[in-house]
């Protein structure tokens, strides 16, 4: 049975202690939290650290709270804690969609949101939801703390703008207005222990015109996607803001920029969706892999973007 090539293991009690150790050992050392990526990476020989610096005993980095107009998530918060959070369920729906289908219960019990972001996989499930929510991240390093938008964090597969010894401390999400909802669709072959073929997150804020008929259609128990889209085309829902992010569509989790010009103030209908999707497909760099072919991924971006608009609208109309 496989052993790890780890010689020393530190369970630090503060961020400063972790940073100092990382400076001391340099490339020989790796940070570890839940370990569900780190240990697998060591077993796969992707990494070969002699020293592991465990962050799990640092107090005060595991929380979900609302404060001064922001939802704040500590980096050591597990996916399971997020999954059980009424605050996330109410206000960051796309993130809830993502954590519910990530790995398995066993993985979610230990895997942390900070780890999912720092691992920077193009398929990281928590990234597209956080991108459409305009999340910021706080990093702590030898020179103190700094914060940056999450979209500036990802540089490539496994690469981030985090410096070697820096630690991800916290994720902050602006509390969305009441007329806004989000959703994430992880397109997979099976429902557990699977990476997405494509992941799509969408955030929608609307100005409701005449929505009575649409609400009735949405309430129908045997609603089909086509019925929903037809009803939407015939109603008057105006878009205040639409944000879109894709997983596995580029070397990084990708936020689609420049959507405002296309969507702001426009009536939500097929015309607008086509323009949004065309822009997304232009910016995406989908490719063939054994998990899915490029043409299929593109096709699913088309399908899922529309479905996610309907899911978001349904969530919005449930609360008006």
């Amino acid at each position: 049975m496989m052993r790890l090539k780890v010689k020393e293991y530190y369970r630090v009690k503060s961020t400063q202690e972790a940073i100092n150790l990382k400076r001391q050992y340099g490339e020989k050392a790796m940070y570890i939290a839940g370990g569900t990526d780190v240990i697998v990476g060591i077993k796969n020989k992707k990494w070969n650290p002699e020293v592991l610096i465990s962050l799990n005993e640092i107090p005060g980095l595991s929380y979900i709270k609302e404060e001064n107009g922001y939802i704040k998530i500590g980096a050591l918060t597990t996916h399971r804690q997020i999954e059980k959070s009424p605050l996330i369920e109410r206000k960051v729906e796309a993130l809830m969609d993502a954590v519910k289908n990530l790995g398995s219960v066993q993985i979610r019990n230990v895997a942390t949101i900070g780890g999912n972001l720092c691992n920077a996989a193009p398929s990281a499930d928590t990234a597209p939801p956080l991108l459409v929510h305009n999340a910021m991240i706080n990093l702590e390093g030898p020179e103190g703390q700094r914060s940056l938008p999450l979209e500036e964090f990802f540089l490539g597969p496994g690469k981030t703008s985090k410096k070697e010894e820096e630690l991800l401390i916290e994720i902050t999400i602006p509390v969305p207005p009441k007329t806004a909802k989000s959703a994430y669709w992880k397109h997979t072959r099976r429902s557990a222990l699977e990476l997405p073929i494509i992941g799509v997150a969408l955030y929608l804020d609307v100005e409701l015109g005449d929505y009575g008929r649409l609400q009735k259609v949405f309430d129908s128990p045997d609603l089909t996607w086509d019925d929903g889209l037809r009803a939407l085309n015939e109603s008057e829902i105006f878009c205040k803001e639409l944000r879109l992010a894709l997983g596995v569509a580029a070397p990084i989790p990708l936020k689609i920029k420049d959507l405002d010009g296309i969507v702001k103030g426009k009536r939500l209908n097929d015309q607008v969706f086509s323009e949004v999707i065309e822009l997304a497909l232009q910016k995406a760099q989908v490719r063939d892999s054994w998990r899915g072919a490029a043409w299929y991924r593109k096709e699913m971006i088309r399908v899922l973007t529309k479905r996610l608009v309907l899911i978001c609208l349904r969530r919005i109309l449930k609360e008006v």
């Binding site: 369970r11 219960v105 019990n109």
Partner: protein
């Protein structure tokens, strides 16, 4: 380098020396000789190595042994009082034919145990979610789900 760690295993306080190169699974099987916990994929994808840590189902094959310091670990060996006094989940698995080759069974039961402790009356969907990370190649899962349901109902005394 060796480290001394303190933890509880199947209800008993332990203090022992460990090597940081060990996963929890390696420690359980190769050092303590507790072979009930299985190694399947060794990469956190099949659930055969599931144990409980502080009540939660966790994959011991990707869990560093150093992290059990101060924690409570339960393995399949801790469930039965004796061969005549099996845990209700163990009895339910036997009575419902939820075992064929048996390799996934310890992990399956540990996932089910963690579920029932958190949620004593799970729905079928909740049972499926709880064992979604445990792969069984023999049974087709139907009897496993029935066994877990039965154990849950039995706990409530509704089945005599």
């Amino acid at each position: 380098m060796r480290y001394t760690i303190n933890f509880k295993l199947n209800g008993e306080e332990m203090s022992t020396e460990v090597d940081p190169s060990w996963t929890l699974l390696y420690f359980l099987r190769e050092v303590l000789g507790l072979k009930g916990t299985k190694e399947g994929c060794g990469m956190g994808e099949c659930g055969a190595c599931t144990v409980q840590i502080n009540g939660k189902a966790v994959l011991s094959c990707i869990y560093p042994v150093m992290e059990i310091e101060g924690k409570e670990v339960w393995t399949i060996e801790g469930l039965a009082q004796s061969s005549e006094a099996l845990h209700p989940l163990q009895r339910a698995f036997i009575e419902h034919g939820a075992i064929q080759c048996g390799f996934c069974t310890p992990g399956m039961i540990m996932s089910a145990k963690a579920l029932l402790e958190e949620n004593p009356s799970p729905t079928e969907e909740e049972i499926k979610e709880a064992i979604a990370g445990n792969i069984c190649r023999c049974t087709g899962y139907v009897q496993i789900i029935e066994a877990i349901k039965y154990a849950a109902e039995e706990r409530h005394g509704s089945k005599e």
